[in-house]
């Protein structure tokens, strides 16, 4: 039985991965566009608070607030 369970991860894990990607996309869709862009910029492009502040033309503290609130909203959405 234990030998049967490990190969089962294969298809299951792939299906879970696809579902997760869709869920993350949906949750990003619930954020304001510029805030979602800022989170993506930080995570995928490795941009710093300063980079993001320059790109979005807002003060550094605003970016920090954007990201923190967006992260908590994403968490609420993803953990629902």
């Amino acid at each position: 039985l234990s030998r049967l369970r490990a190969p089962g991860l294969d298809g299951e894990a792939a299906a879970i991965a696809r579902g997760e990607a869709q869920r993350v996309a949906d949750c990003f869709g619930e954020l304001e566009t510029d805030r979602a862009e800022a989170v993506r910029g930080a995570y995928l492009e490795g941009l710093s608070y300063q980079d993001l502040a320059d790109r979005h033309g807002v003060p550094l503290n605003t970016i920090r607030t954007w990201l923190r609130r967006s992260l908590m909203r994403l968490k609420d959405c993803l953990d629902r």
Binding site: G11, G46, Y49, L71, K75
Partner: protein
């Protein structure tokens, strides 16, 4: 999870959870980042939060390559042919077009090449490694094919895990956070995984069913970077 989620968006959130999130996001300044990395090593609860954020955000990586490239060409064409078509009207504009067109043509070629390189090489990568630890008897050969996402682990030396225990496979990325890829039972295990070049794979000995935490709890028996 035991932590209560604050009901109001404007309330300051659980600071540890926020720290874990910002660590994963990569926005912590150098000192804070190092401090967080050190804390992951000694504070299991914090490490678990970091791992949770990793799994929340990591699906973003999958969509990145697909989304970034495709709509460049229409924009390049518009840039290229737009100014050229209107450039004859006046001297100023023609001058502008005369340096702009070759420049933009060069830029277009560079961007198309970049797109081709991204599309052309990404699907075909194969990463391999032989996982071992010093003179330890246990050795696993690992092979990952990016096109299929299939990661195959073959035990080439050593015995199966003792009764009541399992070998668990982990990937450790640039952030130094181990993430479980699954259990290795039998001689060959095939998993579905998304790996980055240079990621390290490690195998730890865990209680049957795998680590009860988000990080390894047993000794690491074999490890190697995937190249």
């Amino acid at each position: 999870m035991s932590a209560q989620i604050p009901p109001d968006d404007d309330m300051p959130a659980d600071p540890d959870d926020l720290l874990a999130a910002e660590y994963v996001l990569g926005t912590l300044p150098g000192d804070a980042r190092r401090a967080a990395a050190e804390r992951i090593a000694v504070d299991g609860a914090f490490a678990a939060r970091v791992a949770e954020w990793e799994s929340r955000l990591s699906p973003l990586n999958a969509g990145y390559a697909d989304g970034a490239v495709p709509d460049l060409l229409p924009r390049i064409e518009a840039e290229l042919f737009g100014p050229a078509a209107t450039g004859v009207a006046g001297r100023g504009r023609r001058t502008l077009a005369s340096w702009r067109a070759p420049f933009l043509a060069g830029l277009a070629v560079a961007l198309v090449l970049l797109a081709v390189v991204q599309f052309g090489t990404a699907p075909g990568r194969v990463l391999e490694a032989e996982l071992a630890e010093g003179e330890g008897a246990l050795r696993f050969a690992a092979r990952w094919d990016e096109a299929t996402g299939e990661l195959a682990l073959t035990r080439v030396a050593g015995a199966a895990a003792p009764d009541g225990q399992d070998y668990e496979l982990w990937q450790i990325g640039a952030d130094g956070v181990p993430r479980s890829l699954g259990l290795l039972r039998g001689t060959v295990t095939e998993l579905s995984a998304a790996l980055d070049p240079g990621v390290t794979l490690a195998i730890s000995l865990e209680p049957a069913g795998g680590s009860p935490a988000a990080v390894p709890t047993g000794p690491v028996l074999a490890a190697a970077p995937m190249l």
